[in-house]
Symmetry: C2
Subunit: 187 residues, 2 copies
């Protein structure tokens, strides 16, 4: 009986990486809708068969990129503070940020996608919540509001910056940081 | 020589109103792209000839609605305060808010539209700037930042709420208002 050749984990990881990087370029360049299968193939350098054997669908591919971003943002937040997160958002290419807005529209009209999206990365959210709670206990953040209230506020600011960044508007961080510190710092 | 019959100002204002209201419904229901000429005709109850004799193009029609919103928001801000603005955003139908996101994507890829958009309503912006300056002089707002810094911050929060509202996410205003007051109030 013939055995199915098994690719090494290393090979498989490298292919995954190649697909994600290529897809990110294709989405940033053509938008989510505009990134057709042919364009994804060109940008990734692999056939549709290979791409979709790793990620199942175009949506899953985008979702994996969004999860990567979310983990990156959470790590920055935990390790370097919220300022690093703001800088990261401002450093992104407007084209890539714009893909999030495009996808937002799909979330708005597709209930099951939206539920999947809202439930993503509960572990990351729990770590951020614990981080805010610790900062409150150390007296670095105001403690008359819940960690969720503070987290939602910072999330709102990130969303606002995303909307600005998507049209290439520049933003001076210095004044913004003063305002944020006054908002969430000890009162 | 025949004279062209002249419609009264009153008639003309009523038609303009009818077109704007119908177009708003059509955009909210079908999105900007999805609001075809046929759907605009149905929703407005007038022919394309009548509609475009008042507004020239679909973009101009949307632009007029966006200007209406901006004037409404500015009036609320000047007369009832920023809290009223936040409530207004949260009261909008997610479908209508979503149209702004759709249009944002067009602004991103079309330089001349973007420039027109950025320059819109300079008079309104000047009135808001003067309003913030007066509040700073009365000691109601911090005065170590410029009115533009404070205005941009509040604009960022509105943009963040817009992004949230477009997917129908609910937002509790109470904690948000405490955070905003701490951010922009006297330090």
């Amino acid at each position: 009986m013939a055995t199915v050749p098994k690719v090494s984990q290393e090979y498989s990881d490298a292919r995954r990486r190649q697909i994600l990087d290529g897809a990110r370029r294709a989405f940033a360049h053509h938008g989510y809708e505009g990134a057709t299968v042919v364009r994804l193939e060109e940008s990734v350098g692999l056939s549709r068969g290979a791409i979709f054997s790793y990620f199942g669908s175009k949506w899953n591919l985008f979702y994996a990129l969004a999860e990567e971003d979310q983990h990156r943002v959470a790590e920055l937040w935990l390790e370097e503070g919220f300022t690093a997160v703001l800088r990261w958002v401002l450093d992104q290419r407007p084209e890539w940020i714009g893909v999030y807005l495009e996808v937002h529209r799909q979330l708005r009209t597709n209930q099951s996608l939206r539920e999947q999206w809202m439930r993503r990365s509960p572990d990351v959210n729990e770590r951020l919540r614990a981080h805010v709670r610790e900062q409150q206990e150390r007296g670095e953040l105001r403690d008359d509001l819940s960690p969720d209230d503070i987290g939602r506020f910072l999330g709102l600011i990130i969303d606002g910056l995303v909307l600005n960044a998507s049209v290439g508007a520049e933003y001076d961080l210095e004044a913004l940081l003063k305002l944020i510190v006054a908002a969430i710092g000890p009162q």
